[in-house]
Amino acid sequence: MNQRPITEDDLHAYVDQALEPERRAAVASYLDNHPDVATRVAAFATQREQLRGALASIADEPLPAELNLSHIIEGRKRRPRWAGGMVAAMLLIGLGGLGGWTMHGLLQDGSNGLSSLAQEAAYSYSVFAPDHVRPVEIKASNSAEFAQWATTRLKQPVKVPDLSVSGYRLMGGRLVPTSHGPAAMFMYDDDRGNRLVVLTRPMSNRDLATPMMPQSTGDVAGFVWAEGGMGYTLVGQLPGDTLKPIANEIRKQARPI
């Protein structure tokens, strides 16, 4: 018989009923001959039964309304979507800075093209953030590859901001077309499903550096700025005070060291 020796892992798998019948039989016969080990294994099995018994009733409790999955799915569908906000924003753009889209007007004077960047970010957000099928083209797991590709296409070094300190995880990114060429878009989300979009591309003025400016289009708000000829913008559906520190973090990380 070329029987493999019994391992500790076998003993646990025996307790957890995770062994193939043949191995199970081998462990059982081993235990018959080793009462001390058998005692230990029996104790583990007792633990297992007690834990399962102690916790069993929780799984039998009726689910509260908050945990009704149909409600959760329904709630998502009813949440205001981007489409509506965008129609409103477009109308206001059409009206031409009559006051409704204040920041747009403000940025247009001497905005050095930042208003276009802000607009592009809002469009990207409106198209991709509500997308549940493929919000990003390249997933976070390939972020190094994406940064490399974006660097090639934008002809400028592109770094992927890490927003984990702010509680946002990178979902991934994609390249988006703008009237000024390709821009790199990064998308992030937090534990509550809030999504943020960061858009960056070279500005036509290669030395441009500006302070951070607030922007908003419809219910997409955020900040836009330029540094070293690169334009950056962060947008989301969150209040400005929430977005400001995140924008600061991006600005800090994007600076060449």
């Binding site: 995770a18 633990q47 007690q50 834990l51 399962r52 916790l55 689910l63 945990l67 999955l69 509550r192």
Partner: protein, 172 residues
């Protein structure tokens, strides 16, 4: 979405049980499960092939760990000895109930990483491979944590002879 409903809904009671066993607080645990379900709905299309069960437990476990870390950072600690047992165990017969309360109290003394592994495997019936995926560690690590968890829980249990459980309670 219908596909999701069919696959996820039957697992909610188990998610609740795991969350409550970890958090030892009904409201906090259910909040966590709610967060988990909301994420599952929004990320349903992003999940990879493989066990939906393991995927859901991964989301839930990560949310729980984030909470533990935040709680630790804020200097609060999770209840260890006091609250929770009556919420956890509601067995019909009194003696059984005491045994259950006792095992849960002892489980709570284990380090978090040993507790999770024991709950995922011994209670939630995850395979060793699925538990490894949920905890984001190699299977070998799962096995060594499981072994340590069982030895440690046994030491706790051996510390008090079974008959003394009732005595201890009457002294309380």
């Amino acid at each position: 979405m219908k596909d999701m409903l069919v696959q996820v809904e039957p697992l909610i009671p188990a998610l609740r049980r795991y969350a409550r066993a970890l958090m030892r607080d009904r409201a906090a645990a259910d909040d966590l499960v709610q967060d988990c379900l909301e994420r599952a709905v929004s990320r349903w299309h992003e999940r990879r092939d493989g066990s939906v069960r393991a995927w859901l437990f991964t989301i839930l476990h990560n949310l729980a760990i984030t909470q533990f870390r935040q709680a630790t950072a804020r200097g609060r600690h999770m209840p260890i000895d006091d609250a929770g047992e009556q919420e956890l165990a509601s067995a019909a017969d009194q003696e059984q109930r005491l045994i259950y309360q006792d095992v849960l109290r002892k489980l709570a003394k284990l380090p978090e990483e040993q507790r999770s592994v024991l709950l995922l495997i011994a209670v939630e019936d995850l395979s060793y491979a699925d538990a490894a995926a949920v905890l984001n560690v190699p299977v070998g690590t799962v096995m060594s944590r499981l072994s340590r968890a069982r030895e440690r829980l046994q030491q706790e249990m051996d510390g008090v002879a079974p008959g003394n459980v009732v005595v201890m309670r009457s002294l309380k």
